[in-house]
């Protein structure tokens, strides 16, 4: 009788041990599927099925949901990206909400949704600046507000981001794009002086950045236009040949300076030192014809 009781209790204990291990077993199976998915090319049937199986085992595994979403992001199938990405964010917002914002920003040019996600992740982690995809949320917000042409907010976030980087690591550690985009925001807001200041700071650390030189030449071309306007109207009104000659010389000097930097920009562009992104074009992306168009415009100023 005593032996039967021992046997019964032993069996119960074993069942209990095994059932306790069920959860870890499921997690292990889910991870095995995740790893199998990662070992195959992104978007292949093997890969997406493995991630789908991973979340079938463990629906709380946010990273598998995220991995499942990415092929559809990169292939232009938005509803499936959203379906899976939202699950990842729901399960682990601290890890994935900033990343979803980054997706909204670049792949959908949905600047408002991007900002909402960047704001949300900022609130979730007070006293900590999140950096989805390697850049701070302030840097990303600067770009998103530039996309919305909300220059005030764009500049404010770039200023915040740049100052923090300067305080923590020094000005030479700041991403060059932060200076570029802040410069563009100032330029589009009509503040050429501040735009040039930001661009010049960039060029101090990267003298081969085609986009920076393009904007510098663009700002200089505005001075040329102003001088040209004066030459055509003011000088004629005054009927002063001396004043006209003075303006002509000024224009030539300004044109020469603008063309010099623009030609350098074109060389830099041709050797690949220009702002671009993988998968999608970057914000305010410049192409060779943009440089050539500005060059032709400058050369025609007589």
């Amino acid at each position: 009788m005593e032996t039967s009781q021992k046997l019964f209790l032993s069996i119960c204990l074993l069942i209990l041990v095994c059932s306790c291990e069920d959860e870890s077993k499921i997690k292990a199976q889910s991870m095995a599927c995740f790893e199998y998915g990662m070992s195959h090319y992104q978007g292949t049937q093997e890969s997406i099925n493995a991630f789908a199986k991973a979340v079938e085992y463990d629906p709380t595994h946010a990273e598998s949901w995220r991995e499942l979403s990415i092929p559809f992001l990169k292939r232009g199938m938005p509803s499936l990206w959203k379906k899976y990405m939202d699950k990842a964010v729901e399960l682990d917002p601290i890890t994935w909400q900033g990343y979803r914002g980054y997706n909204y920003l670049w792949f959908y040019r949905d600047y408002k949704s991007a900002i909402a996600d960047f704001d949300a992740i900022d609130s979730l982690t007070p006293n900590f600046t999140d950096a989805p995809q390697g850049h701070s949320v302030d840097f990303w917000r600067g770009i998103a507000y530039l996309g919305l042409k909300d220059y005030e907010n764009s500049i404010a976030y770039f200023d915040k981001h740049i100052q923090k980087e300067i305080d923590e690591s020094g000005e030479d550690w700041v991403e060059h794009e932060a200076f570029l985009y802040r410069g563009i925001a100032h330029y589009e807001a009509g503040n050429d002086e501040k735009a040039l200041k930001s661009i010049n700071t960039l060029l101090k650390y990267n003298s081969n950045f085609a986009d920076a030189k393009y904007y510098k030449a663009l700002i200089l071309s505005k001075s040329c236009e102003k001088t040209l306007h004066n030459l055509h109207f003011d000088a004629m009104l005054r009927s002063s040949t001396m004043y006209a000659e003075e303006l002509k010389q000024k224009l030539e000097k300004e044109k020469k300076a603008a063309l010099l930097i623009l030609n350098e920009a074109i060389e830099n562009f041709k050797t690949g030192y220009s702002d671009q992104r993988p998968y999608v074009e970057t914000i305010r992306q410049l192409y060779l014809e943009d440089y050539q168009f500005l060059k032709a415009k400058l050369e025609s100023m007589d």
Binding site: S10, Q29, G43, D290
Partner: protein, 179 residues
């Protein structure tokens, strides 16, 4: 006494072995497929039988169609500016009120020709919707007029690739052309 102990030992050992085996079991290859809603193709696959303008369109290697972004990028022959200018200068908003993403996916073959088009329609929240037929037809027609593409190039050969164009539309106006 000895016999009784042995009699007890064997059932316990068997149960223990079963438990350990079941706990340590890893999924087999066939278990990497979900039991419900398994994907039957790659994410990007476009079925020639169920796509538009696929008749007469040929790919160079049915088993090796890259994505537009790898590794050299398949691009429109007149660049992104050329593509944007062509679409924006020809598209007419005929008082449409639609908003959303009209995405057109297709294949660019190794000769730089386009075919096998499929259309995905979503609202601005990325939920499936249906666009006004005339808007959809117009943008599809314009997209198919983008004839000459630079094909992908890798391993010393021009290759086929999947491409997509996403039109972000707000109140009938195209506000972004992605990617």
């Amino acid at each position: 006494m000895q016999t009784t102990k042995l009699k007890l030992f064997f059932p316990i050992a068997i149960i223990l072995a079963i438990c350990i085996a079941s706990c340590a079991k890893q999924p087999k290859e066939e278990n990497y497929i979900p039991t419900e809603n398994a994907f039957t193709t790659d994410a990007h696959y476009i079925d020639p039988e169920n796509s538009l303008l696929s008749e007469g369109f040929e790919v160079c290697d049915e088993n090796f169609i890259l994505q537009y972004y790898n590794p050299e990028r398949a691009t429109y022959s007149k660049g992104k500016n050329g593509l944007r200018n062509f679409i924006l200068s020809n598209y007419k908003n005929k008082n449409y009120t639609d908003s959303g993403y009209l995405n057109i996916r297709f294949v660019i073959n190794c000769k730089g020709e386009a075919g096998r088009y499929v259309i995905h329609e979503n609202d601005l929240n990325l939920t499936p919707k249906t666009f006004t037929k005339d808007l959809k037809d117009q943008l599809f027609e314009l997209t198919t007029q983008l004839k000459k593409w630079n094909p992908n190039f890798t391993h010393d050969m021009y290759r086929d690739s999947y491409m997509y164009i996403s039109y972000r539309i707000e109140n009938g106006n195209i506000t972004e052309i992605i990617p």
